[in-house]
């Protein structure tokens, strides 16, 4: 168990309403990620964070914002939800790699939360 929880696990909302999804980790890792999963697209990165108040955009960031005021929490906000944002949202964390240990390079294995299924009507 990677120590990641997401809330809510399911949400149905209406177009135009704001929605905030929460990712909480107990591992104290720097790197946290938000993805969306849609059929035929795999997982696509929305935003990620490399520390408190340090965030950056992924490939599908339009319509989403994030905040990270504490190491353990990474929030994803849909300011005005649209039907195209109906999806399953996954949060992930990435522990520090064993960089330099016996020649092992940096790497970025990610561990995923249970997901939030969001439906926008």
């Amino acid at each position: 168990d990677a120590g990641i929880t997401q809330s809510p696990r399911h949400k149905v909302t209406e177009t135009g309403t704001p929605v905030t999804l929460r990712c909480h980790q107990t591992e104290n890792h720097r790197y946290m990620y938000w993805y969306r999963q849609d059929p035929g697209h795999g997982l696509r990165l929305i935003h990620y964070s490399y520390g408190v108040k340090d965030t950056d955009k992924g490939e599908v960031s339009d319509g989403y914002s994030v905040s990270r005021s504490k190491t353990e929490d990474f929030l994803l906000t849909l300011e005005s939800a649209t039907s195209s944002q109906t999806s399953v949202y996954f949060c992930a964390i990435s522990p520090p790699s064993l960089a330099g240990a016996q020649g092992t390079p940096h790497y970025n294995e990610q561990f995923f939360g249970p997901g939030t299924r969001l439906t926008v009507l």
Partner: protein, 110 residues
């Protein structure tokens, strides 16, 4: 932009036979990950491949990485029902981000 292509996207396997899933990617990387996802569940890490020629095996699954060909394979030996799932490869672009393939949905039939 790093593109990752998996094929096939759907794979119907017969129990006891061997199969391979392919993961091609478009730019240089020597780090690749395989994940498994059961229906309605989250992603579970299967393999971490960190260099050219890396090979990892776990049970009936074996993953390998050829960085020169920009290709990873996931080989399934003697398929059994509990291997039915969706398998994703993810390529590390060396900037703390991963790019995922679309996934291969595997169904194992008797």
């Amino acid at each position: 932009e790093l593109k990752v292509e998996q094929n096939p996207l759907f794979l119907s396997m017969q129990e006891g036979k061997n199969y391979t899933i392919y993961c091609n990617y478009s730019t240089t990387s020597d780090r690749l990950y395989w994940y498994r996802q059961d229906p309605g569940k989250s992603l579970e890490s299967l393999f971490v491949l960190l260099s050219n020629g890396a090979v990892k095996q776990e049970g009936r699954l074996m993953a390998s990485l050829d960085t020169k060909a920009r290709l990873s394979t996931l080989h399934i030996t003697a398929a059994v029902h509990d291997l039915s799932a969706t398998y994703f490869c993810a390529v590390d672009s060396n900037d703390y981000k991963l790019s995922f393939g679309a996934g291969t949905t595997v169904t194992v039939r008797a």
